[in-house]
């Protein structure tokens, strides 16, 4: 058995970012997806497509859950029951209760569970964390984060709040996680969402969400997410202000390499960011998790508890958007 024997469940966009990372680490990968896309993906990346989930998981020491969010609970629990460590795409689950169940099951089974909060591995966010942790911006008062990408109409489940949680849960959870990583626990959430919020979402649909997080530390954070018109380039920004000055970033402002005028532009913007042209943040993430899975590396920068806490914030945001009330969060994370 290869040291890393990986069952990858799901054959969508995120699986395509994970596969080269597993391959680079010498992992043996079996892919299962119910949508029939596994064989093509396996061919592209030198993996093996199998016909059932059980077949994929059998003998795996790691299961990489890259399926729609509403299936995470069942697949993660099956993986843990089979004795495999789990990398589960964000959000860990649709509800805090399900996320806690997965995390508790992993803990009881003494298996490792890591949520795919990959933004922690994007260089600007990793550096921001280093700088904030080191006190560079002084005592932080206020921060804002934006995340704009084309509406994910390439797969119908994203637009379905029953399956993805909608923009607040599926997309804005990235920045909820970053804000909590930087500024600590969140005690109050207010959120709102507008635009096309139901499935099916036609090509050209637009939705946006806004949230205000109040941290226990006193920091206040604004998070804005946009699922944008089709020709919108993927872009993230942040601005952090403290007693020692500001830190800001715009992912489109200073590219290491910019290509314009190719036919690709006309074909529409990328839905999933690839990061800069250096090391892929997905590869960095998987290398860090793999080192922990094989017992050879330190604890990764993100834990199962972080995944649960991010779902808790996102769920509170969704409740706030539904009820129109600010939601108080209590209790410590799992």
């Amino acid at each position: 058995m290869a040291e890393l024997d990986v069952a990858l469940i799901g054959a969508g966009g995120i699986a395509r970012t994970h596969l080269p990372a597993w391959t680079a680490l010498g992992a043996r990968v079996r892919i299962y997806a119910p949508d029939g896309h596994a064989p093509g993906l396996a061919r592209d990346f030198g993996a093996t497509a199998v016909g059932t989930r059980e077949e994929a998981i059998a003998g795996a020491n790691v299961v990489d859950v890259c399926s729609p969010t509403d299936t995470h609970r069942e697949i993660a629990l099956a993986a843990l029951a089979a004795g495999a460590h789990v990398l589960c795409e964000k959000p860990l689950a649709l509800t805090t209760a399900d996320a806690e169940l997965i995390a508790d099951t992993a803990r009881s089974a003494r298996l490792r569970l890591y949520p795919g909060h990959v933004v922690r591995f994007f260089p600007a966010y990793a550096r921001l964390h280093e700088l904030v942790a080191g006190g560079a911006p002084g005592r932080v008062a206020v921060a804002r984060f934006t995340r704009t990408g084309r509406y994910p109409t390439w797969s119908p489940w994203f637009a379905d709040p029953e399956r993805s949680g909608g923009i607040l849960v599926d997309q804005m959870i990235h920045d909820f996680d970053i804000a909590r990583w930087l500024f600590g626990e969140v005690v109050r959430v207010h959120a709102d969402q507008r635009g096309h919020l139901t499935s099916p979402a036609p090509e050209g649909a637009v939705a946006s969400g806004t949230a205000v997080l109040t941290h226990e530390s006193g920091v206040i954070t604004q998070v804005v997410g946009v699922w944008a018109p089709p020709a919108t380039p993927f872009r993230t920004t942040f601005h952090v202000a403290g007693t020692g000055g500001t830190l800001s970033h715009d992912s489109l402002a200073s590219p290491g390499l910019r290509v314009t005028g190719s036919d690709r532009d006309a074909a529409g913007a990328d839905g999933i960011p690839s990061g800069d042209f250096g090391q892929s943040p997905y590869a960095l993430q998987i290398a860090e998790f793999a080192a922990a899975f094989t017992g050879r590396g330190p604890e990764p920068r993100v834990t199962a508890g972080d995944g649960v806490a991010a779902v808790r914030i996102a769920e509170a945001a969704a409740v706030s958007a539904r009820t129109g009330r600010a939601v108080r969060l209590e209790g410590s994370p799992a």
Binding site: V142, R188, D192, T210
Partner: protein, 337 residues
Amino acid sequence: MKVAVLSFAHVHAATYLTLLRDREDVDLLAADPDAPPGDPDRGPALAERLGVPYAATWDEVFAQPLDAVVVTSENARHRPLVERAAAAGAHVLCEKPLATTEADARAVIDACARAGVGLMTAYPVRFGSAFAALRRAVADGSLGRLISVHGTNNGRNPARSSPWFGSRELAGGGALMDHTVHIADLLDVLLDGEQAAEVYAQANAVLDADLGLDVETAGLVTICYPGGTVAAVDCSWSHPRDHPTWGGLTLTCVGERAIVELDAFPRLLDGFDTTTARARWEPGGDDLDTAMLDAFLDTARTGRRPAPDGEAGLRSLRVVLAAYESLRTGQPVALPG
């Protein structure tokens, strides 16, 4: 045209004095009798430095026949000056926020209406040509329906140079009061005067805590409009004090068909200055204060109703007052429909 600038308390007074002084069509007079004696940046010292005729008392100012006045007193002290100017038959340009309470705002609107003079609230950002293009794009439907707007209005803490900005009594509040109204006014234009339905706000006083102010220095505000647009605003005084600019204002509009980003104070040139060891920041964009004064003096001359008028000033003030109520309750606050 005889124009008086009443009080130099607000940081914008010196700008207005300079612009009005240099106009051929304006006979300028200025008064700042409530200034602290000997303050080099207020009163007769500032008037002398700028070369502006100065009156030592309010009575001396109002003894003159005035066509128009610019009121730049502390936020909570607009009302008596506007009422007196209106009674004297002068058109009024009142610094924002129009007042610090709904009652005072209503009183100045009524006073001007009774006297038959125009009342303009000083919101210069809506006079920019880039904003005018945005306004047209919203109005002609090319953006589609506005889904959300994300506005930032960050600046240096003005209380560092003018301490009253840090006084709840005189300023009505801190960064929330000072900056939210600018974004709220731009929304007022884009949404054609639609009154906000609900406001949520969070704030803190982490920045410049050493000044011992009794107001917030950072704030985030979410404003919901009945037509379906939501606005997320960062109104913080979070711009570093030794930055080459005072701050700025941006607006990102997410429409059903396009996303539009406005920078009201764009950077024209950058680079590096070795003598100061700082980044260069040559400002671009329009001269918004000149455009606003042009519009105001035009309404004073013609008697046409100014825009933004007092009602617009009251609508944006209501957003801020609801934001303060939200800070108190920790919950969104509904505005009367």
